[in-house]
């Protein structure tokens, strides 16, 4: 089974359970407060995922190591290449 099918199956199961609980298709007795929580559950999971993504990206941006030597070396190589190509007649912006 492909990954896509696995994901779709999982999502389908979750949404099915949610639909059954919210639209009273199953004889489950939920207190009104729990019903409120279940009703918001999919959106809550989506929001949690979004917050997690944002936090991970932010953390990785903050802890990414600078490579000073590699940066300088790259600049030198760019200059060399630019001069070389200019000699051969190509104009670079």
């Amino acid at each position: 089974m492909t990954k896509l099918l696995q994901w779709l199956l999982g999502v389908g199961l979750l949404l099915g359970t949610w639909a059954c609980l919210v639209w009273d298709l199953v004889p489950a007795q939920l207190s009104p407060q729990w019903k409120e929580v279940v009703w918001v559950a999919p959106m809550y999971l989506l929001m949690s995922f979004a917050c997690y993504s944002l936090a991970t990206i932010g953390y990785r941006v903050a802890t990414f190591n600078d490579c000073e030597d590699a940066a300088k070396e790259l600049q030198q190589e760019i200059e060399e290449a630019r001069r070389d190509l200019a000699k051969k007649g190509l104009k670079l912006s």
């Binding site: 729990w34 929580v37 929001m47 949690s48 917050c51 932010g58 953390y59 903050a62």
Partner: protein, 83 residues
């Protein structure tokens, strides 16, 4: 470690996501169990907004990404035509 402004931006994103997560958790999961006459309810919008606001934000975000993508594709097409 990353330099100054990178660190600041990264940490700001982490802090923002923590804030949003905490507020939304309280709003969606905790409030139904709190008595209706407790003062904490005045810090939160009515419940349906807990679904409406993320949906609208999501639609706006997707439209922005989509139009940016479309704009870049069009630019590329125009350039290819005039060449």
């Amino acid at each position: 470690m990353a330099t100054g402004s990178d660190q600041a931006v990264g940490m700001a994103m982490v802090a923002l996501s923590a804030l949003i997560f905490t507020y939304y958790t309280v709003w969606a999961v905790v409030l139904p169990f709190v008595d209706d006459d407790h003062i904490v309810h005045q810090y939160f919008l009515p419940r349906p907004y807990a679904v409406i606001i993320p949906t609208v934000a999501g639609v706006v975000a997707l439209s922005a990404i989509g139009s940016f993508f479309g704009y870049v594709m069009l630019q590329d097409k125009m350039k290819k035509k005039t060449k």
